[in-house]
């Protein structure tokens, strides 16, 4: 990991910094944490100050916010959406529910650990996290991108079988997402994050 860091050229470093200044988040309210997104986006906290802007289609988005619990039904849509996003892409888990099930730990309808289904870049503590915490998490993400450390997305290409197995376990059968992750890995020559 650290070797890879040192391999970044100065040019790449600059570009990484610049890229970090523009993050588009997918405007997908997967759970109740989404209620704190409007205040974060709008006048009171104004996350656009950091170049973060909601985007409506996954093709254009860089960040996928999992705003809390994920019901199985939503998870299916989230996976499709995630696979449609263009790499590099980052998943931010909001609050307790994404970590260990949160208050829905005994619910039959929600999945408990987000990182079983897709690589997560950051988690934010809270139920739900306040706008201040959300903005801090974005700043943290921007820093990590600037430092070239935000590479969790590569994990999806690398350990695709693991994620797919867990996904299929939850759905009770194979799913067809129409995104060929494995060939994408070849086509775009995505190397492992070194994990």
């Amino acid at each position: 990991m650290s070797e890879k860091l040192t391999q970044r050229t100065a040019w790449n470093r600059v570009l990484d910094k610049l890229s970090g200044r523009s993050l588009w988040m997918l405007h997908y309210c997967t759970g109740c944490g989404a209620i704190e997104l409007p205040p974060t986006m709008t006048g009171r906290f104004d996350m656009e100050r950091f170049g973060i802007h909601p985007m409506v289609t996954p093709r254009q988005a860089d960040i996928l916010l999992i705003t809390g619990y994920l019901s199985v039904k939503t998870l299916k849509r989230v996976i499709l959406t995630y696979e449609q996003m263009q790499s590099p892409k980052w998943v931010v888990g909001f609050g307790s529910c994404t970590i260990n099930g949160g208050m829905y730990w005994n619910s039959y309808a929600t999945v408990k650990s987000l990182d079983q289904y897709m690589p997560v870049e950051l988690y934010i503590a809270g139920c739900m996290p306040r706008p201040e915490a959300i903005i801090s998490s974005f700043n943290e993400l921007i820093d990590r991108i600037g430092r070239g450390e935000a590479n969790s997305w590569k994990d999806y290409y690398e350990n695709y079988d693991f994620y797919r197995k867990n996904q299929e376990h939850v759905f009770g059968g194979p799913i067809n997402t129409r995104t060929d992750v494995k060939s994408d890995k070849e086509t775009f020559r995505i190397q492992s994050a070194g994990k």
């Binding site: 997918l26 759970g31 709008t42 939503t74």
Partner: protein, 386 residues
């Protein structure tokens, strides 16, 4: 994001649409779509730009609350009920607390009742401001959400101060409320109310009197008074067709019978009138909040209840209803005399608005107004999904 959904639905849900040969085509709106309130989806059959059939698709936010509540102690449930409706959580807490009180015959201190009214009304204002933002967003007026949601935050600040939580207050509980006012809280409530009131003319200028809104919202999603009753509309949606029904009056609870307020009605029944009814309700809520803060009696805020770990509620059942910002919010609770509720049925205000009424109103409207209709009904998916 329609393509996503299209794929999903092709691959999982149903075979190809059988109406291909006619001039209809299907468009999926949501669940990932800014024009949808929350995580919810619409399957629309379109002819040109006009919707000929609409199906809602919910369940994305299903957590099985009713089941979870059956497995938790009576007191533990106060922490989870508020999650059922995210923008307007307090009616849930109110309903839950009142249902337990009704079954167990618990008395609530007078002061707590007043505080509950305060919380409910503040929550109503916050929720309406949120809806204004959403509605303005659907017609592309992004300045309005920036204003109204930032102003809503002032109310959340009040909540934070009173309850310790911004969005989820976990404040109402059987027997009263959890904490008394902090010092100087009354003054700050007045300040915030003054502020919100001073902002209303600005909203009028920008939004409610905006020519584009009038142009777009008038005549959209018209609900006649007959339909409204037949389809089970409640709350502001019912008042927008001219029926002055309000549970705060009709099925009065807490201390609403001691407060002065009007029930604003309009007669158009279209998206605009639904919006304007909410706009007027804010004024009434501000009036109520001021009365509460000025007249609140002193005293304790919670009547002691047994140790929550060893608390049985006698067998019985109760149907309690609260006028939430979205309409009639009801809980049907059954206790079998155990430590946990035997059954809680949550009747969210949006179960009628968000499914049946929405499906019917969408027919005949055009694709660009679909999300406006949804926002004007203020349908809140988590209430439907639970």
């Amino acid at each position: 994001m329609s393509e996503v959904l299209e794929r999903i639905n092709r691959s999982f849900d149903e075979p190809e649409d059988e109406h291909d040969e006619v001039r209809e085509y299907t468009l999926f709106i949501g669940p990932n779509h800014p024009g949808i309130e929350g995580n919810f989806a619409l399957k629309l059959s379109l002819e040109g730009d006009t919707i000929v059939r609409a199906k809602t698709d919910g369940g994305y936010l299903h957590r099985g609350f009713e089941k979870l509540m059956e497995e938790r102690l009576f007191m533990q449930n106060i922490a989870i009920v508020c999650r059922i409706c995210v923008p307007d959580p307090d009616p849930n807490e109110e309903n839950y607390a009142r249902a337990v009180e009704a079954i167990a015959g618990i008395e609530v201190p007078e002061r707590a009742k007043w505080i509950r009214v305060l919380v409910l009304e503040l929550s109503r204002i916050a929720s309406h401001l949120f809806t204004f933002g959403g509605h303005a967003g659907t017609i592309g007026l992004y300045t309005m959400p920036n204003w109204s949601i930032a102003d809503r935050d002032r109310i959340l600040d009040l909540f934070e101060e009173l309850t310790g939580g911004r969005v989820y207050h976990i404040y109402n509980m059987p027997g009263g409320v959890r904490r008394d006012f902090p010092d100087g809280f009354e003054r700050r409530v007045h300040e915030v109310m003054d502020y919100i009131e001073s902002r209303l003319p600005d909203y009028d200028d920008l939004f409610f009197n905006n020519a584009i809104l009038r142009k777009r919202a008038e005549g959209i999603g018209v609900l006649t008074s007959d339909q409204a009753i037949r389809w089970g509309a409640t709350g502001p949606n019912l008042r927008a067709v001219g029926i002055p029904a309000d549970l705060r009056r009709d099925d009065t609870y807490e201390v609403y019978d001691k407060l002065e307020f009007d029930i604003p009605t309009l007669t158009g029944g279209d998206a605009l009138d639904r919006l304007l009814v909410r706009r007027k309700e804010i004024e009434e809520s501000i009036r109520i909040v001021r009365q509460v803060v000025d007249n609140i009696p002193s005293g304790k805020v919670w009547n002691k209840q047994p140790n929550p770990l060893k608390w049985r509620v006698p067998a019985g059942d109760a149907y309690v209803r609260t006028e939430s910002s979205k309409g009639e919010y009801a809980y049907y609770m059954v206790s079998d005399g155990g430590q946990r509720p035997y059954r809680v049925h949550v009747r969210g205000a949006s179960t009628t608005h968000g499914v049946h009424i929405l499906e019917n109103l969408l027919v005949g409207t055009r694709i660009e107004d679909a999300s406006q209709v949804m926002f004007s009904l203020d349908a809140c998916p988590p209430e439907v999904d639970r």
